[in-house]
Symmetry: C2
Subunit: 215 residues, 2 copies
């Protein structure tokens, strides 16, 4: 008499293992071949039957959102936001900011899977309008509060003069991470040397403009 009009996903130790394998395979294949890959292929890559995939996720869309939301919970920020929070207590602001920027940009560049996923979401925004918004919250705006907090703290200390916090945040993003995001849209990426030159001179430019001692 088990009348499940909506069958609930399997649970248990074995099921969890399969589930992870499926998500991992799906992520890899979505990334490599786009949303167009067949469910057969994904199932095969996960070493799993297609039926199992459907027992777990119910639909391709659900699987896709599972991939995305699982990627949403990824690091990319622990070391980074830690470095950001230490800014307020740093003696040498410039060096500290450069270090934080290096950690930040490094996180963005090494997890370029995440950027690629972002492009995927953007690409499939017609099919998943809600995902686009979910992504906005956790995207760069994920540490938006961290960046905002750090800048505000520095402003309160009088170590920076920031009349327009909103603009300043965007400018910091723009100088440091946007280039990598834009380039990756074409599948291209910035060379290591240029990346570091952008970080150093970007920080100097930012500090030069927002330092209180100028005039």
């Amino acid at each position: 008499m088990s009348v499940d009009s909506v069958r609930q996903p399997p649970s248990g130790p074995r099921a969890e293992l399969k589930r992870q394998a499926i998500v991992r395979a799906a992520r890899e294949l979505f990334l490599r071949d786009g949303f167009g890959v067949g469910m057969d292929v994904i199932a095969a890559e996960a070493g799993v039957s297609k039926v199992t995939v459907y027992n777990h996720f119910g639909s391709k869309e659900a699987l896709f959102t599972a991939v995305i939301t699982s990627a949403l919970d990824e690091p990319l920020g622990h070391a980074t936001s830690a470095a950001l929070e230490e800014l307020a207590e740093a003696e040498d602001l410039r060096t500290a900011l450069i270090d934080a920027a290096r950690a930040w940009v490094h996180a963005v560049r090494t997890n370029e899977d995440v950027i690629a996923l972002r492009n995927l979401v953007a690409a499939e925004q017609h099919r998943f309008p809600e995902l686009g918004h979910a992504w906005q919250g956790h995207g760069p705006e994920g540490h938006h509060p961290a960046v905002a907090g750090a800048l505000r703290a520095l402003a309160d200390q009088g170590r920076l003069a920031i009349p327009d916090l909103e603009a300043a945040i965007i400018q910091l993003y723009a100088l440091l991470v946007f280039p990598h995001m834009v380039f990756s849209t074409y599948g291209a990426h910035v060379e290591d040397g240029l990346t570091d030159r952008l970080i150093v001179s970007g920080v100097d430019m930012f500090l030069g403009y927002y330092s209180p001692q100028r005039q």
Copy 2:
């Protein structure tokens, strides 16, 4: 005895009209619904028979590349690069650069179709690998030479001190146009007021850093 193994597309005044209607409709629908739209729908939107579409373009891929390459030849730069070239002769560099930036950003923001198309190409890069490269050449790098030329001229005049031209170009892009590109990836866009504040303070920041009189 006309043995055309490959039928050549129709020519003539009427054909040209239809052709334009098809490309326009295709562009609009690709933009709105992604590459997934059916040829039926495109034909209907163009007020044209599906067969006509195939007589003209032969395949969906060909139609897509036609849409893209036609978008590649679009303005987005005439007024902008003109303003950029006048920079070298301007008396008040700051005002001139702000004006040029306004024209530039305005072009980017009004033709946001072009940015959306860019996302489409990025999305469909698996299907059209060659398009991705064609797009790179005409993307922001389209006026890359114009920007590079303007900055180099100003440096030669001694009005700017630019030790790293490559970085400076990217930074100018980053401060002025990248925010709009990144935001539009989510379907979001920067408000008017913030846009102008970003332009003005971005230019000031850039000039502050690259002006020779500092130190």
